[in-house]
């Protein structure tokens, strides 16, 4: 067997991405150290970011930090520390790696950005349990540690249809956050600033949706694995112009690839949907395996979760409540299935891989028979991989490799 040299197609915009994320991290660090004016809020990734931006908070996202811990595999050093103080190995491994990292007084930010030696100290923590309850427990922990206020939104769960009463409830919960946010920020809430941050966020969401949508092209100009890296600004900087400027650059590059018929995977043969969390510590290995198998993982519920089509600056509260409540993870099985069916068709998907993430039942959709139902309905095969977002103790390299290889062999048999 001859080893073929891999021809990787790096995305040039990664350089600008690095700069954007670096500036963002250093700015927060300066505020945290008191070298610059400002306040820091910690927010869940699909939390009320735009409200925080409207009050000029710089926003830190513990989930983003969790993903860094996963991709650097440092999570494995930290998870046991959180386990030891009573945070079970069965709960969110973002939470356990992040808390463990805090207990050890370290952060992967130091490696990436010299001079930063801790996560920015929060002035307030704001969560939304639209994704799971773990985020609340996570934020409550830090609320106690830093002795700062913890505010949050607890929307209704697992929704099939979303009725006006539910939106009204969430709107009220959002408005109820304002007095505390005003107090901590020392600013008066300004509806026009809020509208502006909603407008910027909508633009960001549209741009992000557009670049993800470019993967509809055959061959796809980029992969899910690229997406998990380039989503940084959509998660951390939406509501600010910085994110939108970055996505213009990425958009131009990917559109150029499409125009030239350049695919991310050479001789793309199969097009795969990734459902569920990334396996952060194995993104590279997985992306290389798919590359060798000439298969492109090009669409995912995960990356799509930061497209908020409902955002509308003319109805800022209602549309934010709508957008953050109607997210995939907060929906019923039939709604999720319809959503996936549509993407499978639009992206010309040959097969779906479900990641059953041990510590994130909330974002593991293979547990109630969905793969079997979709197989039947769509006539395409599915594969379920047992792993975890951060905790590699739950991961068997060889089993996963073999499963993926066999899945591609199954797709070959159907050609």
């Amino acid at each position: 067997m001859t080893e073929k040299k891999l021809l990787r197609k790096p995305i040039k915009a990664a350089k600008q991405l690095g700069e954007v994320m670096r500036d963002y991290s250093y700015r927060m660090d300066r505020i945290s150290k008191g070298e610059e004016e400002g306040k820091i809020a910690w927010c869940t990734s699909v939390g009320p970011a735009e409200l925080l931006c409207a009050l000029d908070f710089e926003v830190h996202y513990p989930e983003n930090h969790g993903a860094m811990l996963g991709s650097t595999r440092l999570a494995m050093d930290y998870i046991p520390l959180a386990n030891a103080i009573g945070y079970s190995p069965d709960i969110c491994s973002y939470l356990t790696s992040d808390v463990g990292c805090y207990l050890k007084g370290e952060t992967p930010l130091s490696r990436a950005y010299p001079g930063i030696d801790s996560v920015p100290r929060p002035d307030i923590l704001a969560y939304n349990t639209n994704q799971c309850r773990d985020v609340r427990e996570w934020f409550e922990y830090y609320g106690r540690e830093f002795n700062v206020p913890v505010v949050g939104i607890n929307p209704p769960h697992g929704l099939r249809e979303i009725v006006p009463a539910e939106i009204a409830d969430v709107v009220q919960q959002m408005k109820d956050l304002i007095p505390t946010l005003e107090e901590v920020s020392g600013q008066k809430f300004d509806i026009d600033k809020f509208r502006e941050s909603m407008r910027l966020s909508r633009e960001c969401s549209e741009l992000w949706g557009h670049v993800l949508g470019l993967a509809r092209n055959v061959p796809s100009p980029w992969t899910f694995f690229d997406g998990t890296i380039h989503m940084g600004p959509a998660v951390c900087l939406r509501g600010s112009q910085r994110a939108n400027d970055y996505y213009q650059i990425l958009k131009a590059e990917l559109e150029e690839r499409v125009a030239e018929g350049v695919g991310a995977v050479e001789d793309e043969r199969f097009r795969i949907y990734w459902e569920g969390m990334p396996i952060w510590g194995r993104l590279r290995a997985l992306s290389e395996q798919f590359y060798e198998l000439k298969s492109c993982v090009l669409v995912s519920t995960y990356c799509n979760s930061w497209i908020f089509s409902a955002f509308d600056e003319n109805r800022p509260f209602e549309s934010m409540a709508q957008a953050y409540t109607e997210i995939f993870i907060n929906r019923s099985e039939p709604v999720k299935e319809r959503y996936m069916e549509k993407l499978v068709e639009e992206f010309k998907v040959d097969g779906i891989i479900f990641h059953d993430s041990k510590t994130c039942p909330n974002n593991s959709n293979s547990r109630y028979g969905m793969p079997q139902r979709l197989e039947k309905k769509l006539g395409i095969p599915t594969l379920t991989i047992d792993a975890d977002l951060n905790d590699l103790r739950m991961y068997s390299e060889e089993t996963t490799r073999t499963n993926i290889e066999a899945f591609i062999e199954q797709l070959e048999e159907r050609e």
Binding site: E398, A406, E409, R414
Partner: protein, 280 residues
């Protein structure tokens, strides 16, 4: 260079299955008949083990390495077999082998050293679905080995012991280590050894039945059922379905690999693959 490939009877292929506990080699001719095979423990050096198994299978086939046109490797160590021309997963190879004998809609159950597979095939031999056991080795060959050790019973005596029992002891745990504790507890509670051993096989059967439904004709392969056919009976009883054991179940993966070798496009005689392997 001889003119191999001109005469069908003069073309030979091999499959190697480098498993976690044993390595299997099978040599076939172009008519898909087995000329020689060999099974040995894999040990730590997978490549060396594959070399030896291959040589032994060749000896039994009365052939030399240079007579073999194409080699396909499969199993856990497939990528370590550097002399193979191609590798395929064990999921595909067991399926290919079973489809050869049962060209109809089947469910293949393979119990190996450290993994279990349930694969569904349509009448054309295409996989319609496949499942592998989750992370742990509960219900695999490794589980039985561990229990035989704990019970201080030679592995090959498990089958006969279990056959002396009419009612197995129920063992509830998923986990191999916890099952060992449960077993000790049962012994202390006065349960008969044969009932416990039957209970162990039932627990293997349960792990399989949790993985998927059984549809079409049900065929078993793998080392565990080769040495312990009682597992097929217990699965059949529990599923209320006839469960058959494939011919040469332990070598099924290697046989499937050899079939792929024979069918591989590259197996068409070309200047390249007519060269002896050593000179390619």
């Amino acid at each position: 260079m001889s003119q191999k490939g001109v005469n069908l009877d003069d073309r030979y292929f091999a499959g190697l299955d480098s498993g976690t506990s044993t390595t299997k080699a099978v040599v076939i001719d172009a008519r898909k008949g087995i000329l020689g095979s060999f099974v040995r423990r894999s040990g730590a050096n997978l490549l060396e083990s594959a070399e030896i198994a291959f040589e032994e299978a060749l000896k039994r086939a009365r052939l030399n390495r240079d007579d073999i046109e194409y080699v396909v490797a499969t199993g856990f160590g497939r990528r370590s077999i550097s002399f193979a021309d191609l590798s395929k997963t064990e999921i595909s190879c067991h399926s290919r082998g079973c489809h050869h004998y049962f060209p109809e809609e089947i469910t293949v159950i393979d119990i190996g050293g450290q993994d279990n597979k349930v694969v569904k095939l349509d009448a054309g031999g295409r996989k319609t679905s496949f499942k592998m056991n989750r992370k742990c080795a509960a219900g695999t060959g490794a589980f039985l080995e561990e229990m035989a050790y704990k019970l201080d019973v030679p592995l090959h005596e498990l089958e006969d012991l279990a056959r002396k029992s009419s009612k197995g002891t129920e063992l509830g745990s998923f986990c191999t280590v916890f099952t060992a504790t449960e077993v000790l507890d049962r012994i202390r509670g006065g349960k008969r050894l044969e009932d416990i051993v039957r209970g162990l096989f039932s627990s293997v059967a349960k792990r399989i039945l949790e993985m998927d439904t059984l549809t079409g004709r049900v065929i078993m392969s793998g080392g565990v059922v080769a040495h312990n056919p009682i597992v097929a009976e217990i699965i059949g009883e529990r599923a209320k379905k006839k469960v058959e054991i494939a011919p040469h179940p332990q070598e099924m993966g290697a046989f499937g690999a050899a079939l792929f070798a024979a069918e591989s496009q590259a197996a068409e005689p070309t200047q390249e693959n007519l060269l002896p392997i050593s000179r390619r």
